[in-house]
Symmetry: C2
Subunit: 329 residues, 2 copies
């Protein structure tokens, strides 16, 4: 049986969820893929933190090069987060001939071309399913089974924090500040919620979608973005009266020769498939010229859903390695 070794950069929440996904489904994954995956090295300073997984002390390292220079490692999973040093780590791994899997939307959106070109030059794979929509396998579908379509429109609820807040405001008549506070208490929002509530997180994801779906480079900073921090109880009330809900929607369109994208709080008629996507859930609505309306719904964040997407990419690469095609893509 083909053995595939993995180096993991970062054992925070997502790193732990990824490790746990492989640990709990190890036999199943080996069974269906015919590949034996093992996370052999982990770059992480905090070796003592209590985690719901079994890690041997010798798996840990504090030296990134221990992973990049390890000839036995086939795949590097980057879960450090942020643009740097994550981007440099990925470039090093790709240049060392390792396949790379990441959940890092900020680094992919900021350095898309450099990362893709470096993967291509080294004939290795770079995959980032988890960077958009968490556990929802949307990127693989858009660039795989749905390839026979030209897309007219993509609409996404791509941020669980803002969707949770808007749902609470709508269902429980809460004020924005109170809903934000509750989201923070439940761990759905960070202490500094700016990146989420002002739409910057979504801008990274929409930039990635524009690259993949419309082959168009739009830097996240150049996407016209309005967050939800100015939404009031009155806005929600008025929307209800009109038979609508307010959602933070990322839009990308290609209609009548015009191509564009923007992010803003959007009135959705209650009959729209995205209107019933509530709480921390994400969804992506696509209109293809053959498949017509399509929607994918699921958990856009969380250690295990994100771990599912990361491991999906790892499995895809492992299968390619075992068929001998991974270095020629």
């Amino acid at each position: 049986m083909k053995k595939v070794n993995i180096g993991l950069l970062g054992l925070g929440n997502i790193g732990t969820g990824t490790y746990q996904t492989l640990e709990m489904n190890y036999e199943h994954i080996k069974d269906v893929t015919g590949v034996d995956f093992e996370i052999t090295r982990i770059l992480e300073r905090d070796v003592d933190r209590k985690r719901p997984i079994t890690v041997r002390p010798e798996q840990f390292t504090q030296t990134p090069d221990d992973i990049f220079n390890d000839p036995d490692i086939d795949i590097v999973i980057e879960l450090v987060g942020g643009i740097e040093p994550a981007t440099s780590f990925m470039l090093k791994a790709l240049n060392a001939g390792k396949h790379v899997v990441t959940a890092n939307k900020a680094a992919i959106a900021a350095n898309y071309d450099e990362l893709m070109d470096t993967a291509k030059a080294n004939k290795v794979m770079l995959r980032f399913e988890a960077s958009v929509g968490g556990g929802i396998p949307i990127l693989t579908a858009l660039t795989g089974s749905l390839l026979a379509n030209e897309y007219e429109e993509i609409l996404g609820i791509l941020n669980g924090t803002t969707n949770y807040i808007l749902t609470k405001m709508d269902h429980e008549d809460m004020a924005y500040e109170d809903a934000l506070k509750e989201a923070q208490q439940k761990g759905f929002a960070e202490a500094d919620p700016t990146a989420d509530v002002e739409g910057h997180d979504v801008a990274n994801k929409l930039s990635i979608l524009m690259n993949l779906v419309f082959k168009k480079k739009v830097h996240p900073d150049d996407i016209q973005t309005t967050g939800i921090s100015a939404i009031t109880k009155d806005d929600i009330e008025q929307a209800k009266k009109d038979g609508c809900v307010i959602k933070l929607v990322a839009s990308a369109y290609h209609k009548d020769g015009e191509l564009g994208c923007f992010i803003q709080p959007t009135l959705l008629n209650k009959e729209h498939p995205l209107a019933t996507v509530n709480n921390e859930f994400n969804a992506i609505f696509v209109k293809g010229n053959a498949v017509d309306d399509l929607m994918f719904y699921g958990k856009g964040a969380g250690p295990l859903p994100t771990g599912s997407a990361v491991m999906g990419d790892v499995i895809e690469i492992g299968r390619a390695i075992s068929k001998g095609v991974a270095y020629d893509l």
Copy 2:
């Protein structure tokens, strides 16, 4: 550029939709795949029917062997429908070393093992994304990007006809007979609606899902199946009073060591993601042990949505051919 030639068996509604999908997106598909797909031969008696596509007279044949024996044909698309002669056609094509793509749920469900074994023995690919959920790329996701999960539960609204009838009964207080009549007028139900309304169509699809997801062989005839023909206005009314809707749900589960499946009209709480799947739409709800709740929603039938799924499979095979791995899977 790699050229991939296709033989098409059947140019009815789905065959025409498949041809049309390739025709309208030809340049786009060539662009993103680097493969030049052409439907070179078509098995079809009715050469004179008016269709929204351009077919040259010399593409038609009435002799199946013209396709199976054509050394230039790489992929055979089977869209004849029904168990026979479709199964024999597929076996002939596989034994002739052709890859096969089909939308034929009845033939795949009835002869799953024989078809899969024949594909394996001939080292060719057999794909059938369009057989479950029409345009929704559910099979590829379940056997690809979601492979890191063990599944606890799959629930599907897998038949557009019955969902259309139930939606009309719920939204417009129609009686079953009237809703069925309207579905027939709109082309969502056939003159003899038995296969749809009694759940036999869904049984084929659930049998395929059981094979793929739980590796369990259940013949469609052995699935406990209750259709919707006995549902009355009173049933719908009572469900409404209880805050529910009635949907024809196909269920497969693997919980506490027990594995099973059944099809029946099911009360769904209005908050359930499947409850808002209306009219002719289909949806599949999956619960994986890592990804948690996930739902795919889209058009479960129709020439172009089904054509999208068929062409998705064709593209997957074409890419494998161009990488030189298609004959070693």
